[in-house]
């Protein structure tokens, strides 16, 4: 039983990390109806830009290497880069593809994936880098002692970051002007336009926020496994979360992440050995698929009504 809980808790915490990546997808899909496949590449780009700046800033300005100031500056610069990337994407790509079929927009974001990956590795090189946020990745002592259950400090930290992020995003959408405008745009583009909400403005903001989420996700995943190309693969972990939670729901992303994370780990541990293991690659998808058969619009997705 202790082992079961250990796996369960580990899975839930990993699930939060998946949700973090899924959040970026949700924001953009909600506001502009684009399934932004480049989100994974953006996570990679953001983390690499951050680490790249921490490497070059000390040399440029004579700052102390690894100091808090360098980290803060690098964070601001990486965030700026993400916002620029987001706004450029909106201005150069999406604005010109308005009213095109969804699949065309989707393909454009795959094109964007190549572009962003190329730019990231072209500028900063292909080296794999470490990233130390200063939080040790080791079991929390008192839980270990009292219940003999392994809970990683780092995962708890990451989960709280994700929690704070989701709550603040929810508050932002609920109580600010921009947030309200955004929800209006999500509901109906044309109606929003007709009451004077600047659509493009809102899109730029959303891409900027998605860039911020990508940066946070990139830093957390990057400090876990290193800042390297594989960060783009985090998107693949986020996709089942997305269909389970619904493309348009922020709480859905979190709940979906928790479900996917925990069931995936439990399945790997308890079913995996009977079929040779490694089922984590497809199990979340099959699970989400099975779930969709019951509820085709996901956990919190909006029910779509067909009209002839």
């Amino acid at each position: 039983m202790q082992f079961f809980f250990e796996v369960l808790i580990g899975g839930l915490l990993s699930g939060v990390l998946y949700a973090l990546v899924a959040l970026g997808f949700v924001l953009i899909y909600k506001a502009s109806g684009v399934f932004n496949f480049a989100q994974g590449a953006m996570v990679f780009f953001a983390a690499l830009t951050f680490v790249g700046f921490t490497e070059v800033l000390p040399a440029w300005f004579g700052l102390e290497e690894g100091s808090k100031l360098v980290f803060a500056l690098a964070f601001v610069l990486a965030l700026a880069a993400m916002v620029v990337l987001g706004i450029a994407t909106e201005k150069i790509v999406l604005r010109r593809l308005v009213n095109q079929p969804h699949i065309t927009l989707f393909m454009a974001t795959i094109g964007l994936t190549y572009l962003v990956e190329g730019i990231a590795q072209g500028i900063w090189g292909a080296n794999v880098r470490g990233l130390d946020l200063g939080i040790a990745d080791e079991p929390i002592g008192w839980i270990m002692d009292s219940a003999n259950i392994l809970v990683s400090k780092f995962d708890v930290f990451a989960a709280s970051v994700a929690g704070v992020l989701v709550v603040s995003l929810a508050l932002f959408f609920q109580f600010t002007r921009v947030g309200r405008a955004l929800r209006a745009v999500a509901d109906d583009h044309q109606a929003a336009l007709s009451i004077g909400i600047p659509l493009q403005h809102i899109w730029a903001i959303v891409w900027g926020v998605a860039g911020f989420v990508a940066l946070v996700a990139g830093l957390i995943w990057g400090s876990r496994n290193g800042v390297q190309f594989a960060l783009t693969f985090t998107a693949l972990k986020a996709l089942p979360v997305l269909i389970l939670g619904g493309f348009t729901s922020v709480p859905g992303a979190i709940l979906g992440g928790l479900i996917i994370g925990s069931t995936e780990k439990l399945a790997e541990v308890y079913i995996g050995p009977f079929v040779g293991g490694g089922i984590e690659s497809w199990f979340p998808y099959i699970l989400a698929l099975g779930f969709l058969l019951v509820r085709p619009e996901g956990l919190f997705g909006e029910r779509h009504i067909d009209r002839v």
Binding site: V93, R96, A108, W282, G298
Partner: protein, 355 residues
């Protein structure tokens, strides 16, 4: 001036229902066929046959398969590469396990295996739509590749899960040289493309399109959505499966499950988007474009920048230009190369007197 249908009258239903109703088109079509069947094998060198033309043909077939599903029946799929894998491993196992299995039959059986798997993974399409379905087809992509690696039976217990395809022999005639492999691919692709062209013009194809445009409306007019959608999944997977078998037998010779990864699925999706969604012709153009573009970029980069910039930067520039061109192309012509071809033909009709 030369491309004009004036004076060509359709006097019978057969004439009205031809694929190419304009004589110039027919002549052009036969000329193209003759060119690829006779002139190309006679004059093209090994590099073109083995590294360019054969893969373009095979990917065209896979693109036709995906186009049937996505372009005609409106179901987005990200698992085409996995169905190719099923076709390749299926054909391999039929050849391996049944003595005297004819090559063509094995390829068709491989395709049928893919079709069966396609039907299974097509079942959710009855309830799930759009991107939800697209992401759900990823389940097929990952599960199939996993299963092919995991169960050694599929690869005849090879230690690394890699299969080496058998020789292609048809009626005692060995297809072993690049020219012959190219020709057999071309023949199979030509026949299947023709079949697809006719299929999409038939009742079946019209039912697919009705479901694509609005499945509720289609149901109202008496089209059974379940049968139609599953049919599309089956036919599409069959085409992908045959393409996969050819990929193994006439192109690479040795295939591993990981070769059929998500990247390949995306490449095929690119082919139909760039080529033209809902166009058989577009599948060929798109496949040629996506296969040739990176090679062209690589060669161009070497001849222009060779040595001037670091190799890593040059390689990344290629990737950036590739991504940029895709986006550019989607913006400029969202309906794909097939649409450009159509526009060209209309212009040609009026030429040289546009008014």
């Amino acid at each position: 001036m030369f491309y004009r249908e004036a004076g060509q009258f359709k006097a019978s239903y057969e004439e009205d229902q031809q694929i190419f109703t304009i004589r110039q088109d027919r002549v052009g079509f036969y000329a193209i066929l003759a060119f690829f069947f006779l002139a190309v094998p006679a004059f093209a060198n090994q590099y073109w046959l083995q590294a360019i033309l054969t893969p373009v043909l095979i990917f065209s077939l896979a693109a036709i398969g995906l186009n049937i599903l996505t372009g005609y029946a409106g179901q987005l799929s990200l698992g085409s590469a996995a169905f190719m894998a099923v076709g390749a491993f299926g054909a391999y196992n039929f050849m391996l396990r049944i003595d005297g299995m004819p090559f063509i039959v094995a390829i068709i059986l491989g395709g049928l295996c893919a079709a069966a798997v396609g039907i299974v993974f097509g079942l959710p399409s009855l309830r799930i739509k759009g991107f939800y379905l697209a992401v759900a087809t990823l389940a097929a992509q990952f599960f199939i590749v996993w299963a092919l690696v995991k169960f050694p039976w599929f690869s005849n217990h090879s230690s690394s899960g890699v299969i080496t395809t058998q020789e292609i022999v048809i009626f005692g005639f060995a297809f072993d040289s690049p020219e012959r492999k190219y020709l057999i691919s071309l023949a199979i692709v030509a026949v299947l493309a023709l079949l697809a062209k006719n299929l999409v013009r038939s009742t079946t194809g019209r039912a697919w399109m009705a479901v694509r445009d609005m499945d509720v409306a289609a149901e109202v007019i008496g089209i059974r959505p379940m049968r139609t959608k599953l049919q599309a999944f089956a036919v599409s997977s069959f085409y992908c499966g045959v393409a996969g078998a050819l990929y193994g037998y006439t192109y690479l010779g040795t295939v591993e499950p990981e070769g059929f990864n998500l990247d390949l699925s995306f490449k095929i999706l690119f082919m139909i988007i760039i080529g033209g969604v809902g166009s058989i012709m577009g599948s060929f153009l798109g496949a040629a474009f996506i296969v040739l573009l990176p090679i062209f970029l690589n060669v161009a980069m070497h001849s222009t920048l060779g040595g001037a910039v670091p190799a890593s930067l040059a390689a990344n520039l290629e990737l950036i230009i590739f991504g940029g061109l895709i986006i550019f192309f989607l913006i400029v012509e969202p309906h794909g190369l097939a649409r450009l071809w159509q526009i060209g033909k209309e212009k040609l009709r009026l030429w040289p007197f546009p008014h």
